[in-house]
Subunit: 145 residues, 2 copies
DNA sequence: CATTTTAGTTCAGTGTACTGAAATATCAGG
DNA sequence: CCTGATATTTCAGTACACTGAACTAAAATG
């Protein structure tokens, strides 16, 4: 199998899994992007989230509604400014969904010796960098998830 | 960075790239799933494609319309049965879009010695298997892209 | 305090992709 | 041939997320 087929298979599998998770939990792709942002950058106000994902405040209400309904995020009033709503990703919210995946991936990683694991980790890190760069190139924006 | 964060970063980056490609070419996530199927299983009729991606024939017309408009797939009449339309993925249709990615990934892979490359390839293969299994678990169907 | 600004939600309108059914074209059987 | 079955497209209706604007609430300003 060529490296190219390789990447395509991985990409397809990742996307299929992502879609399945979304369908299972009743959230859209955009919702999941918002959640990833919250997980990566920590809690932020609804307005900040709107700017980050380039959506209107009205749309963000819907995004957070769905994430909350799925138990993936929480709304909390900002005690310092009661107009504001702070949205945060629920810790380990994917627990049930990701439990099997995490366990299986741990098993997979366990198969390799230390040097191999270093190579794999390095490969993944560099792959992520490449993907982000190419995503920026396509979108023209500085935002690459 | 834990293995967990790791996977999430890769997943997010892959999905973001996938979305960017779709937006760039004017095709939906479903369209891309259909295209991946055509690339993997070879040309098939519109009806077969409809069954594979679990959509009505009417919806498939739209899917193929968009793929054709983007230059990613082709419609051809079946000479043996002129009611049928055979849909095929255009070879190297992603050329322009994926050129940068392919080159960068080749560079990345080049950094590792033979043993490391073997470990990486094995890791990717097993990861794809795990993802497909977990996708099946979530959807309950036998279809995991 | 009254006024202006800011934050978020609500809501009507819009765009898009899907379903289900009707229409069109072709094949297969009597 | 004529009839019934099959393959795809077309089309009206539906579902859903997004936009833009009005609305509510709270903070900042003077």
């Amino acid at each position: 199998m060529s490296g190219r087929e390789f990447g395509r298979e991985l990409s397809t599998a990742v996307v299929a899994f992502h879609e399945a998770v979304g369908a299972h939990l009743g959230v859209t792709a955009v919702d999941q992007r918002a959640l990833a942002l919250l997980a990566a950058k920590g809690p932020m106000t609804a307005g900040a989230l709107a700017r980050e994902i380039a959506l209107t405040p009205g749309a963000v209400t819907g995004v957070v509604d769905r994430l909350e309904r799925a138990g993936l995020a929480r709304r909390e009033p900002d005690p310092a400014d009661r107009r504001r709503v702070v949205v945060s990703a629920v810790e380990d919210a994917f627990g049930e969904v990701f439990a099997g995946l995490a366990a299986s991936m741990a098993e997979v990683v366990d198969r390799y010796d230390e040097a191999e694991q270093r190579a794999i980790a390095d490969f993944v890190t560099r792959t992520v960098e490449v993907l982000r760069r190419e995503t920026r190139r396509l979108t023209g924006t500085g935002d690459a998830g």
